[in-house]
Symmetry: C2
Subunit: 137 residues, 2 copies
DNA sequence: CTCACATCTGAAGACTTGTTCATATGTCTA
DNA sequence: TAGACATATGAACAAGTCTTCAGATGTGAG
């Protein structure tokens, strides 16, 4: 095993790149989930990465709400809420129930619910440990 | 309690909006975490929402790696990796250890590690239950 | 049937983000 | 010290995203 200080050059997938620890690189590569899975996961995170969408989802954690109430709770325009819900609905993260002219939305993805719970539990504890912007070294 | 079918108009925070269930709206509003917390949480999700950054973090789950190995594992240019790491470092999600001219990066945020574990555990099981794009009704 | 209402939609502009290329910084070796 | 090397950085362009506005759709009441 060529550990530590020798730099080798491999061409694992067509594009040659210098690697320091070829074994670990190969091992990590093995375990890396397929690109599609990672892309899906990144998409989910992306849906949670907007403050307004996040507010909507947090509001829905406790039960369904109609569009206008969601707008009131989150302080957004009804149009903005509708757009956001459409996106979330397309990704099956929320689901709608229609009652006459009202539309009641609820969280439809237990996986996302867990992510939200986990994330919120931590930010409540962490308060200000994330000083945004800092650049070390 | 004015439940069900009467629509009232409240001006809770200055901006008047029609609400259907004023009680629930007020209750949900109560429990909603402060805006700053939500913004921080959204930022974290945002950092995980890029496939390339996600790859880097997944690669680091098993231990530290230097920049060039990260580039090799994830198939990105070293410059791109460096830029991504800078962002992650600024948010204290990864930390660098320098050894001569090499820089070894590791996951520095246990909170993020949990989010990653949770997310990956699920995508591995869920395969294709997230048919990307679908729009119901 | 007509009106008021709740929600949805499309399009356009402002803004944010990622990638690339060129170059800078700092470290090791000869 | 000179030169090779690993990483970092800045600037610029391309691409994607959010918000808003105006108007469309569908539903219930009179």
């Amino acid at each position: 095993m060529n550990k530590s200080s020798d730099v080798s050059v491999t061409a694992v997938d067509g594009c040659a790149l210098k690697v320091v620890d070829a074994d670990r690189v190969a091992a990590v590569r093995e375990r890396m989930p397929p690109g599609d899975d990672l892309a899906d996961t990144a998409d989910v995170f992306g849906l949670l990465s907007d403050t307004n969408r996040l507010k909507l989802l947090v509001a829905l954690l406790e039960g369904e709400l109609c569009v206008c109430d969601l707008a009131a709770v989150t302080g957004q325009s009804e149009s903005a809420v509708s757009h956001a819900l459409r996106l979330l609905r397309a990704h099956r993260i929320v689901a709608a129930r229609r009652a006459g002219r009202m539309a009641y939305y609820r969280l439809a993805d237990p996986h996302v619910r867990m992510l939200l719970d986990l994330a919120l539990a931590h930010t409540e504890h962490t308060e200000a440990i994330h000083p945004e912007r800092a650049g070390d070294r």
